[in-house]
C-alpha cells in the first residue's frame, strides 16, 4: 500500500503542471525531511518555506519519501560529520558556545551530532540535487511520459482520488 502511494506520488508529481524547476526545488526541499531527524525544529521552517515558496508540494513529498531510507542509511556518516564539527574543530567552538547559549537557536538541537551532520549534508546536497532533479524531470517528460501514458496501470493510478487532492497544491 505504501509502495503504491509512493508510486502515485511519483507519477503525479513528475507529470504535474509545475515546471521541472518547481518540482526539482520541491524535491530538494523535501529531502531535508528524510535526511535529517523529522522532529527537529528546523523542519518547521522548511515546511513554512515549502508552503510559501512557489515550489511543487508534490515534489516536497516525493523528496521526503525518497530520502527517508537514505537518511537511515547515512546516519553513521552524519554522526561523523557532526562529531567532526562539534567536537574536533576547536575553531568552531566559540560559534557553538554562542549558539548553545542563545535563545531560540538553542532549541534547534544543532548540538546533536546527527542533527548537525545531516543538516550540513543536506545544505551541501541542495544545489546538486536541485539541478539533477530538474534535468531528470525534463528528460522524463520529454522521453518517458509519452510511452507511459499508454500503460493501463499508469492510467489507473493517475485517475485516483488522491490525484485530485494533490492538484490543490499543484504549482
Amino acid at each position: 500500500m505504501l509502495l503504491l502511494k509512493l508510486l502515485q506520488s511519483l507519477i503525479k508529481t513528475l507529470n504535474s503542471e509545475g515546471t521541472p524547476g518547481q518540482v526539482a526545488a520541491g524535491i530538494a526541499l523535501g529531502s531535508v525531511f528524510g535526511l535529517t531527524p523529522l522532529m527537529s525544529p528546523h523542519n518547521l521552517v522548511i515546511v513554512a518555506l515549502a508552503m510559501v515558496l512557489n515550489v511543487s508540494f508534490g515534489g516536497v513529498m516525493l523528496g521526503w519519501a525518497l530520502f527517508v531510507p537514505v537518511g537511515f542509511a547515512l546516519d553513521p556518516v552524519f554522526n561523523a560529520i557532526g562529531t567532526q564539527l562539534l567536537v574536533h574543530t576547536p575553531a568552531l567552538t566559540p560559534v557553538w558556545t554562542d549558539w548553545y547559549n542563545a535563545p531560540v537557536i538553542a532549541l534547534s538541537r544543532f548540538n546533536n551530532t546527527i542533527v548537525l551532520g545531516s543538516f550540513v549534508f543536506w545544505v551541501l546536497l541542495f544545489l546538486p540535487l536541485f539541478f539533477l532533479a530538474r534535468w531528470g524531470v525534463g528528460e522524463y517528460r520529454e522521453r518517458v511520459y509519452a510511452r507511459l501514458e499508454k500503460v493501463r496501470l499508469f492510467q489507473v493510478v493517475k485517475a485516483s482520488k488522491l490525484y485530485n487532492l494533490y492538484k490543490l497544491f499543484r504549482p
Binding site: 531527524p37 513554512a48 515558496l53 538553542a106 532549541l107 504549482p171
Partner: protein, 610 residues
C-alpha cells in the same frame, strides 16, 4: 513566474495554529513522559508519574503521584511523592535550559509497596549504571569471615601446595636476577679492560723509580713528566668508568639483598596467612573480628550513600569543559549531544531552592514529620558558583524522645570535588545482624546512629557509629556451619562465645572507611569483637597458636632450600662481581698514586712538563 505563493500562507497559518494547539494539548503528557523516561534512565528502575499539569505562561509545573522504584527491590518504591509544585523561569526555556526557582514537595514517603513490579524488562546499557557500579563496589569489598568450623579439624599441613607459595616464586626470581646481573657486570668489567692500563702505569712508575732532573736532564725530565701526566689522565678517565660500574653494582647488590631480607620476609608472611586460611582457623584478634561480624552491615549502609554521591558526581560535574552525552532516543541513530556551557549563562538545569515535607508513618521511633531543604542543585556547579546544600530536620515526632538531623554539602564548583554528609539520629531502630559463626542474631534495638562522611576527589573518609544499650541476642540453634562430625571443639567454642556475647546488653559499633573510594580500608571497632577476641584468646589461644606453628613450620620447610639458593646467589654476586670491581679500582688507585709520586720527584717543584 512568481517565486512566492501567497495563497500558501493560508495553509501555513492553519498548520502553525494546529501545531501550537497540538503542543498545548500534548504538553502535559510530554512532560509526564519526559519525567518518567529521564527518571528511569537515572535510577535504573521504573519511575511513574500519575499526571503532570503545566501552566507555561504562569511558569508553573505540578507533578502528581510520583513513584520511584527501588532498583534493588522492584516491588517497593524508593520514594513516593504526592505532589511536586515547581516555579519555572520562562526566559531560560528559550535556551532549552530548565531553571526552577522553587520546588515544593508534599507527601513524601519512603519504602512504600508497589502494585506492579518496577523492574525494567530491557534496560539500556547506560540505565542504572551508577547503581550497578555501587553494587559492584559493595561486592568487591573484602570482608574476612569468622568461622569456628576449622577448630574441629585435624591440621592437614599436606594441603599446603608449594605452587601457591609466593616465597618460592620470589626466591627463584631473585636467584635468576642475581645470576644475570652478575654476568652483566662481569661483562662490563671485561669490556673496560683496566688491567693493561694499570700494568702499563705500574711499568712506567717502575722505570722512573729513582730518576730526577739531575739524571735525566731538563729535556728528559720534561718528556718523562708529560708522559706521566698523560698516563694519570688516562687512569682518571678509566677510574670514572669503574666508579660508575662500582656504583651500579653496589646499588644492584643492595636491591638484591633487600629482596632477600624484606621481600622474602613479606612473602613468607603472606604464605603464612595463605596456609592459615586453608585451616579455616578463626581470627582471634579484635581488629579482624570486627569486620567479620559487622562488615556486611556497614557496606550495606554505606553503599546507598555512595550511590547518591556517585550520581551527583556524574550529573553535577565541575568545570566548564564541553560535555558529551548520548542523544535522545529515536527510531534513527541517537548521535551525541555536545554541551557548551559558558560563564554567566544559565546551566542546563538549576534548582535554586527546594523544600519537601516528609512524613514517616507507623508507630516506629522514626515516625513523624520532617522538613527537608535543598539549594543549588544544578547540572553545572561551576556556572552556578555555589555548592549544593541540604538539610533534613524533624518537625514533629510521633513516638519517642528522638531527634533526627542531617545536613550535607556537595561542592562541585571546582576540582577536587568536596562532598560532606553529617547525619545524627537518636532513638531510631537500628539494624538486626546475623552472626553465623555464633549461630546468633543480634537485634540492636533502638539506639543512636551518627555518620560523618567526607569525600575529597577520589578519597573517602567516613565514620559511622551505632550505639544501643537495648540489644537482644537470639540463638538460632543448629551446629557450627561447615563443621563435620566430631567437631566437638568447634561446638564447645560456639557455646563459649554464646555465653560471652549473650551477656552483652550495651553494644557499640564504630566503622571507619578511609582511602580511595574504589578500594577503601575498612576498620570496625566494637566491644562485641573485643569480648569475642578476649574469650577466644583465653580459651583457644594455645590451640590456635599450636596449629599456626605447624603451618609455619610446613611453609618454612617448603621454601627453605629455594630461599637458601637465593641468598647464595646474592652472596655470589657480592663476592665475585663487586669484589672484582673493587679490586680493579684499588689497583688503579695505587698505580695513580705511584705515578703522582714519580712526577713530584721528576719535576722537584719546577714548572716543567706542561
Amino acid at each position: 513566474m512568481k517565486r512566492v505563493r501567497l495563497k500558501g500562507l493560508i495553509p501555513l497559518v492553519l498548520f502553525l495554529v494546529a501545531f501550537v494547539v497540538a503542543i498545548w494539548l500534548l504538553l502535559d503528557p510530554l512532560v509526564k513522559w519526559g519525567v518518567e523516561d529521564v527518571g528511569t534512565e537515572l535510577v535504573g528502575a521504573k519511575v511513574d508519574l500519575a499526571s503532570a499539569d503545566v501552566h507555561l505562561f504562569k511558569g508553573s509545573v505540578t507533578l502528581n503521584g510520583l513513584q520511584v522504584t527501588d532498583p534493588a527491590h522492584p516491588m517497593t518504591n524508593l520514594v513516593q511523592a504526592e505532589q511536586i509544585v515547581a516555579d519555572v523561569s520562562l526566559a531560560p526555556l528559550l535556551e532549552k535550559k530548565l531553571v526552577l526557582d522553587t520546588v515544593a514537595v508534599r507527601g513524601v514517603r519512603f519504602g512504600t509497596p508497589r502494585k506492579t513490579s518496577g523492574a525494567l524488562a530491557n534496560p539500556g546499557p547506560n540505565t542504572g549504571a551508577v547503581a550497578r557500579a555501587v553494587s559492584d563496589w559493595a561486592d568487591r569489598m573484602h570482608l574476612p569471615s569468622l568461622s569456628l568450623a576449622g577448630l574441629g579439624q585435624v591440621v592437614n599441613v599436606a594441603a599446603i601446595s608449594p605452587d601457591s607459595l609466593t616465597t618460592l616464586r620470589q626466591a627463584k626470581q631473585i636467584a635468576g636476577s642475581a645470576d644475570s646481573a652478575k654476568t652483566a657486570w662481569l661483562e662490563s668489567l671485561t669490556a673496560l679492560n683496566p688491567k693493561p692500563h694499570i700494568d702499563s702505569a705500574a711499568a712506567l712508575a717502575e722505570r722512573l723509580k729513582g730518576k730526577n732532573i739531575g739524571t735525566l736532564g731538563l729535556a728528559g725530565a720534561r718528556d718523562a713528566a708529560q708522559s706521566v701526566k698523560r698516563t694519570i689522565d688516562s687512569l682518571t678517565a678509566l677510574d670514572g668508568k669503574l666508579k660508575a660500574l662500582q656504583a651500579d653494582v653496589t646499588q644492584g647488590v643492595g636491591r638484591l639483598q633487600t629482596g632477600v631480607t624484606d621481600g622474602l620476609a613479606a612473602a613468607r608472611r603472606a604464605d603464612y596467612a595463605y596456609a592459615r586460611s586453608l585451616l579455616k582457623l578463626p581470627a582471634i584478634a579484635a581488629p579482624d573480628i570486627g569486620p567479620a561480624l559487622f562488615g556486611r552491615m556497614v557496606t550495606d549502609k554505606i553503599a546507598p550513600l555512595l550511590y547518591w554521591l556517585n550520581l551527583a558526581q556524574k550529573y553535577m560535574p565541575p568545570g566548564l569543559a564541553e560535555r558529551l552525552d548520548p542523544g535522545p532516543k529515536r527510531m534513527r541513530a541517537s548521535g551525541t549531544d555536545a554541551r557548551f556551557p559558558r560563564e554567566h549563562d544559565y546551566p542546563t538545569f538549576l534548582l535554586r531552592f527546594g523544600e519537601a515535607s516528609l512524613s514517616l508513618g507507623g508507630q516506629g521511633a522514626a515516625a513523624g514529620n520532617y522538613d527537608a531543604r535543598v539549594t543549588g542543585v544544578t547540572s553545572a556547579p561551576t556556572l552556578y558558583g555555589k555548592p549544593t546544600t541540604f538539610t533534613v530536620s524533624r518537625t514533629a515526632a510521633a513516638v519517642g524522645p528522638t531527634s533526627v538531623r542531617a545536613s550535607g554539602m556537595l561542592d562541585h564548583v571546582r576540582r577536587p570535588l568536596r562532598d560532606s554528609v553529617d547525619v545524627s539520629a537518636d532513638g531510631i531502630t537500628l539494624p538486626t545482624v546475623q552472626i553465623g559463626a555464633f549461630g546468633a542474631t543480634l537485634d540492636l534495638g533502638k539506639g543512636s546512629s551518627q555518620l560523618m562522611l567526607a569525600r575529597t576527589g577520589d578519597s573517602l573518609s567516613a565514620r559511622w557509629v551505632w550505639h544501643s544499650n537495648d540489644v537482644t541476642w537470639t540463638r538460632q540453634g543448629g551446629s557450627v556451619a561447615g563443621a563435620a562430625g566430631g567437631a566437638g571443639i568447634a561446638q564447645a567454642a560456639q557455646e563459649m562465645l554464646w555465653n560471652t556475647i549473650s551477656g552483652l546488653k550495651d553494644v557499640q559499633v564504630e566503622a571507619r572507611l578511609s582511602g580511595p573510594i574504589a578500594s577503601p580500608r575498612l576498620a570496625i571497632g566494637t566491644n562485641v569483637a573485643d569480648a569475642v577476641s578476649q574469650s577466644l584468646q583465653r580459651q583457644l589461644g594455645d590451640k590456635v597458636k599450636q596449629a599456626e606453628a605447624q603451618v609455619r613450620a610446613r611453609v618454612d620447610s617448603l621454601v627453605a632450600s629455594q630461599v637458601s639458593a637465593a641468598r647464595s646467589a646474592v652472596d655470589s654476586v657480592r663476592s665475585t662481581a663487586q669484589q672484582a670491581v673493587d679490586e680493579q679500582r684499588a689497583k688503579l688507585d695505587q698505580a695513580k698514586k705511584d705515578l703522582e709520586s714519580r712526577l713530584k720527584s721528576l719535576v722537584g717543584g719546577l714548572p716543567i712538563g706542561g
